[in-house]
Structures are given as structure tokens and as C-alpha cells.
Symmetry: D2
Subunit: 270 residues, 4 copies
């Protein structure tokens, strides 16, 4: 629409199906003139329609387990070959709690599950940047974005250990962002998105009620996956070169609400 990413090259993690934020980012990045590689875990790719997305956006797919340094090394090397140069933007949209999937309550975790979820959801972001940084695979003024959720700052009881994983992820963004900025002029930020009815999000208990609550709390309503993609594009573009180490709320205002009139309506009869 605006050619905001004309000539830019990227890697997009986590496009599972057309409800995925990463899917929308890929579509929008393509519209804005970017070239990119799509990647996802081999197991996730079997379920999703990522091949349709690749066809639609003229992209290649490179499967990679984001917890495997070997896979990530291969991904980054191949991506630079395919795209013909260094990388300008990366989207990390990966998260999974085994405790949630297996129905373990936060107060009664299985710590093997905890470790696995932490590795997939949080450490994978460090590993991705480790490979990009040490291979010097990013162009100057490149942009790395990871998706996160406000449970990193405030309690949402059903979010389980994903809250702690997102806190760790956001810390990685700051810690690694310092070195990536200082040494390679690359910025690193996280977007803290409204609850979004993606296929992944729907695994969380009571999700529909929560979507409704967040909608009533937010003065502009919940942000959609497509709107999140738009915002991500702005962070990949040259309009935001000096924004780094930030956790950016994209949530219709939810994060700075104490209470809204619409939520209070449920409490006034008392």
C-alpha cells in the first residue's frame, strides 16, 4: 500500500494459519514490498496452510525448530542465500505452554513442561538473536520484533506459566537489544498485543469471556491480528529507527486502564 518495506528482506516465524498474527504480518509485509522467508516448526507446518501463504507472497519456506541452534543456523544461512543478502527485519511469534496444554494448574506445574515451554516461548528468542548477531546477519538499522502479552506485567490467572515466559522474553529483548544496538545498529522491541482469537490463543481457558472483558475495558476495543500486522510493519519501517528496548502496548488502551465505564456497569447494582 505504501511501499514502506520496499527492498527489505526478512524472516517471519510463526505463521500457522490465517488466524495467526504472523500470517497477517507476512501478507502486509508482502503488500509493502518486502521479500522474506517463512519459517515454523516442522510439526506446526504439517497442520497449517503455510504453503498457501508462501505461494501468495512469493516466499520460500524453511522449516526450523526454534529451540535448535543447528536449525537456526541453517535457517539464517539459507535465508541470506535465498534473499541475496543480509536481513532487515525478523518477527518472532512463537509461544506454547505445555502446562496449559496438559491442564496443569500454575500452582502445580510439571517442571519438565515448564522448562520445555520456557525454551520454546522465550529462550528461542535469544537463540534466534544469538545466530543473527554472531553471523552478523542483520543489516544496520534492521528491526527485530517479538510478540508478547501483558501477563508479563500483570496477573491474568489463566495465562499460567506463559506469563513468566513472556516476562523472560521481554527481558531478552532489552538485554540482547543493548548489544545488538551498540554493535550492529539493530533495534529490538516487543509488541504487547490485545488478546487475539488465534488458533494458539484459543487454547487458553475462558478465552471468550476474557476477550469480551478486554473489549469492554479498552477505550478503542481490542486490537485485531490485522491491526497488529499494521503496527508491526511500522516497526519494521524506517519511520521507527530509534525505537529500541521497548515493550509496546498495542491493545486499544487496555494497559493503562484502571477501570472503564463499560466494566463498571457490571458492578454498580451492588
Amino acid at each position: 500500500m505504501y511501499n514502506l518495506l520496499k527492498g527489505k528482506k526478512g524472516i517471519i516465524f510463526g505463521a500457522l494459519d490465517e488466524n495467526s498474527i504472523a500470517w497477517k504480518v507476512a501478507e502486509r509485509a508482502h503488500e509493502e514490498g518486502a521479500e522474506f522467508v517463512l519459517t515454523n516448526a516442522p510439526i506446526a507446518m504439517r497442520m497449517g496452510g503455510i504453503k498457501d501463504l508462501a505461494a501468495k507472497t512469493g516466499s520460500e519456506i524453511i522449516p526450523a525448530d526454534a529451540t535448535s541452534m543447528d536449525d537456526l543456523n541453517n535457517l539464517v544461512e539459507k535465508s541470506m542465500e535465498i534473499l541475496g543478502g543480509k536481513i532487515d527485519f525478523v518477527l518472532h511469534s512463537i509461544g506454547m505452554s505445555v502446562n496449559v496444554r496438559k491442564g496443569k494448574h500454575y500452582t502445580d506445574q510439571n517442571y519438565d513442561f515448564t522448562t520445555k515451554g520456557w525454551d520454546v516461548s522465550a529462550v528461542s528468542f535469544h537463540k534466534v538473536m544469538n545466530v543473527l548477531y554472531n553471523k552478523q546477519a542483520m543489516n544496520e538499522w534492521g528491526s527485530i520484533v517479538a510478540l508478547t502479552y501483558m501477563a508479563a506485567q500483570r496477573v491474568f490467572p489463566d495465562y499460567n506459566d506463559m506469563a513468566d515466559n513472556k516476562a523472560y522474553l521481554e527481558s531478552i529483548a532489552r538485554s540482547f537489544g543493548y548489544f545488538f544496538g551498540r554493535d550492529h545498529k539493530v533495534r529490538v522491541n516487543t509488541i504487547s498485543q490485545s488478546p487475539t482469537p488465534t488458533t494458539a490463543g484459543q487454547g487458553v481457558k475462558g478465552f471468550d469471556g476474557f476477550i469480551s472483558y478486554a473489549e469492554k475495558m479498552s477505550p478503542l476495543g481490542n486490537a485485531t491480528a490485522l491491526e497488529c500486522a499494521d503496527y508491526t510493519i511500522s516497526l519494521f519501517s524506517d519511520l521507527t529507527k530509534k525505537v529500541t528496548l521497548q515493550n509496546l502496548f498495542h491493545d486499544g488502551g487496555f494497559s493503562n486502564m484502571g477501570v472503564s465505564d463499560a466494566v463498571m456497569e457490571r458492578f454498580i447494582e451492588e
Copy 2:
């Protein structure tokens, strides 16, 4: 460059001279296809070259004292006439401490000066939104941005009562932003910018040393006025529709630094 603001209409407060962030925003907004009205205090306009900017961007100038409801009512009405419709974006870039100008220390303020500075620097933002809101002068999904500084959150000893004024300004953004979002789908945010060598900024004591300190602390270095204009454009564009009530740091990463290697170098010999 991208046509990001094509067809959008705006009001830009605070373009004093070519060092002003507001001046750069006007230039960039013009490049992105926007039409807008420039405004400044009558007294400020005598000093600056705002007429050159108006000529260059095809804009009209409407003088207004931003502490006067009469002036602001006139400004908004005239702007809608000139632009032929409601407003899509507004930049508030206004700040002045009489205590700083008159050399009064923070611990020994003249409270008449304090009140005047608060009215100009902070309450003016409420008054601007009061007029826009009550006249229903903003289009849906419009965007209002005010410039601020991190002294609102953390102590910078020479920033004097501007720290408190900026804290009040940022609170207005949240408080009014709720009603503006709920009722008119308008978003309200503040940009917390690196120290910038504008004509206004240079009035602050020890400013050069401070610029150097901030440069060394920030992994990407200080953000320039032009980079701030780019970032402001992204917030006026349709890419950021669901970002509201936020204070957004645009500072090369300074806000999330505890200390950098470059700053520590000055302390390691001990």
C-alpha cells in the same frame, strides 16, 4: 515519500524555527501528503520563520495562545474551514518553564511562575482536546500526539518544574484519551523524545553535557528531531490505529538502560 497521510488534515502546534521538532513534523507531514494548519503563540511567531514553513508546505498560519479557550475555539473552527472538514491529526509541541527562564531553582520556585509554566506546558493540552472533543472536530480514528520527556518518570535535576509539568501532561493524555477513544474513536499518545538540541531545549542548564551523557547511554544514540518527526508520522498514520493512552519512548533505548559500557568507562578507574 510513502503517501502515509494522503488526504489527512491536521493542526500542528509549536513550529518555532527549523530546529523545532514541530517544524520537522510539518515538513514530513507535507511530504506524506497531509494538509494542515500551523499555529503558535503570537509572541513566538514574531521570532520564528514560521512563514517560510507555511510557504514551503502550502499551509496557513493561525496564531493562538494555547492557554486561551477563545483562541483555541477560533483556531479549531478556522482550521476546519480552511481544510474543508474535520481534523485527523494534531501535534502538541509546547513547553516552557518560567522558573527555568528566570533562574529559579526547583527547591525555591516562584509559584506564579510555576502556575504559568504548568498552564502553558500541560493544561494547554487539556484545553486543546477540550475544544476538539466538544466541537466534535476530530474524524474517527484520528490521532493526537503530544511531545514529552522522561523527566516525567525519572529525576533529571536541571529539568526543574518541567518534570512535574510533563507528568501532568502525560496524565492528561491518559485521562482525556479514555473519553476521546470511547466516544470518538480518537487515539491520544505522548512521545518521550531524547534530549534534542532545539532552541527551547538549549535553555536548560548544562544541556550539552547532558546530550553527551544521553548519547553514551543509548545503544542507538540520541534520536534526532527528524527521526522524531518520522516516528510522529507513523503515529498519525493508519498503521497505529489501536495504540492509545501510551507514553512512547523514542530515545535510542535510553529509557531502559541502567548503565552502558560507554558510561561505565568514566567510573572504572576508581
Copy 3:
């Protein structure tokens, strides 16, 4: 109970009646062995039973308009005479919005009311510290506390311009706290208290429903006035000498909640 304030001398602003937090602080400070002066605005004193409190705690009362530098100078001088030395602790518990009282909506303020409320609720804190600092009236390792509310950070629609006043107040705590710490080893903090059914709090629209909402959101329930007094005592004591420039939430956990199970119950039937 513990002799935590034995030998300490203080000034307590804002004890109106037995529902006041300042009233409870006075009672608890007396139990902990402190001596202090009570003060309030002359007009407030006519309404309240402050004389009973003075009798009960062996305190003298010095009326003072906290917006008047003359009154504050007199208060501090007289207090040191009465108490026989410098001051160890000060409580600022003062707040009033004329816009709220007169029924003016946030988006349609009367700016004379706004200025008056800001002066009473926020600038008064600066004036109190101005007098204490410039008279060198505080002992080293003294403690100054002001009461605030989370509307300074997040939107509570009915809190009106008190939100902005509290943001300004909290900024004063940081700004003045720096100089008071650096020069006189005095700490300055604010306590951000749960909504409390004081006589002042009850003026806010929909307050009962809001109390109920906050109770359901907070894992430990709302903090009472007496509990706030206990917490204040801890901040006046020698146990907290290095805590300064902080805004301390005393709210049963509300401030770090995104949503609680008890609140979500109202939204799950949808």
C-alpha cells in the same frame, strides 16, 4: 505497640475525622511513641473532630492553609518550638477537586477550578517541602510521605482531574526527593492506597460500586485506613531508611492485576 517511632517528632496534615487515613496515622504514631503536631485547613477544622484527636494523642493543633507559604512557614516554625527540635516525619494527606465537587465533567472542566484543585492537592506538597528544606527543618534520615492514588498511572473515569493532580504530586515526590536526599538525607515517598471510604473519598461518583470492584480484583482485598496507617508507620521508622523517590502501592495487590477470577465471573456468562 513496638516503639517504632520513640523520640521521633512529626507533622501530620489532613486529619479531618475518624475515617481519615491521617487520623489513623496520628493514632498509630502516638501508639508508637511519636510526638507530633496536627494541622489542617482552618475551614476543614471547623467540621472535623480534630480536637478530640489532639486530646487523645497529646498533640497540639496548628491551623494552616497548605497553599499559603505564610501559613506553612508559621506551621513549621511553631512545630519545631512545640516539639523542641527538628522534624523526623511528615504526612501529606490533602486532596480536593473543585471540578468534582461542582459536578464538572473531566472533558468540560472549569479551569479556575482545575487550578485551585491542583494548588491544593499537588502544589501544596511542593510548598510544604520548600519550607522544610529551606528552613533545614528536617532531621537527617527523616521521612516524608504523601498519599496518592493509582489514577496517576491508570484511568479511573470518575476520578476526574484528581488523576492529573496525583500524577503531578508523585512527580514532586521524585523531583524534590532528589534534592532532599542529596542535601539533607531525607527520604520522600508516596503511598498509593486502595480506594478507601473516607469522608473525602465518598464525594466521588459511583464510589461504592468501585470499592466493590477493587475488592474483587485484589487478591488480599482492599487495604483499610488503619492498614494504611500501619504501612505509613513502617515508612516513618528506621527500617526503611534507604527507600526514597518511590510510589508504593498499598492495595492488596490491585495494581499488578490484569483481571481476577472474581471479576471474570461477571463476564463468563456471555
Copy 4:
């Protein structure tokens, strides 16, 4: 000194030697009338003089690897036997980065080291609370405190992966604190302490220069281990019953400083 903890029973993790904050907490808790069990990792106990501390405070020692659920179950059961009832307070003062010890840079971590450090420094806090919660081992209005550092919020380049571990730890405090508050009226907080020259802290590169920097930045100077113990006592006492889910800075004001005059002195000559 004040009998603040008279009749209270506790468990204190992490007293290694007399430089340890946990050591000071044990001494102060003893002075305040508490009874408690001391615990540390078997390997750490061989190095430290924890037996002297036990003798001095009339405490028993129960070795426990805080990453082992078996050890923690044993610890909590034995502690209740020894102390003759449920627990009122717990201090978690445990942290260790294998990457730091082995000289691995943040951008080039060994992920086995990362996992080990995360388990010891962060997950151990979850495990401790898991055991206490599921055994219903805490009395109502009990208090759990973990020590942390501001690297969880802001970048300190040499703090390495401990920054991310502390972010995870602080998130656990909120996440588990919700359930512990809701179900057992127990509060959970973290204290974010000044850099402290403990035996553990001294392993961090450039620590002396950093101590000096923090001292110059903080209006009240760095907080000592003993002062931290005093503050911890206040959080174990009944004065702070409604403080929960908080991260509390105990740092002489560092956390809310942008820059101090003393730090700026090093930058003004430019």
C-alpha cells in the same frame, strides 16, 4: 529491638557468610523475636559459616537443594516440626549464573548453563512456593520475600542472564502471589536491592566501578545489606499486610534517577 516478629516462624534461604543479605536478615529476625530454620544448598554450606549463625540465633539448619522438590518437601515438613506450627515468613535469597561463572558472554551463552542458572535463580522460587502452597504450610497473613535486582527492568551489560532470571523471578512473585493471596491470605513481594558487595555479587565483572557509579547516582547512596535486612523485617511484620505482588526498590533512590549531579560531573568537561 522492637519485637516486630515476636512469635513468628520462618524459613531463611541463602545465608552463606556474614556478607550475605540473608545472614543479616537472620540476625535481625532473631533480634525481633522470630524463630526460624536456616537452609542452603549442601554445597554452599560447606563453604560458609552458617553453623555460627545457627548457634548465634538459636536456629536449626536443614540443607536443601532449592531446585529439588524432594529436598523442599523435606525442608518444609521438618521446619514445621521444629518450629511447632505453620510458617509466617520466608526469604528467598538465591541466585547464580553459570554463564557468568564460566565467563560466557550474554550474546554467546551456553544454553545448558542458561537452563541451570534459570532453575537455581528463578524456578526455585516457584518450587518453594509450590511446596508451601500445596502443603498449606503458611499461616494467614504470612509474608514471602525474594531478593532481586533492577536488571530485571533495565540493562546492566555485565549482569548477563541474571537479568532475565530476575525478570522471571519477579513474574513468579506476581503469578504465584495472586493464588497465594486469594487462597491463603499470604503476600508475596520482591525487594530490588542496590548492588551489594556480597560474596555472590563480587563475581560480577567490574563490580567495584559499578558500586561507585550506583553510589553517585543514588540521592541517599547505596543501601547496605543490613539496611536491606531492616527493610525485609518491615515486610515480614504486621505493618505491611496488604502489600502484595509488588517489586519494591530498596536502593537509595537509584531506580527513579535519570541522572544525578554527581554522575553528570564526569560528563560536563566535554
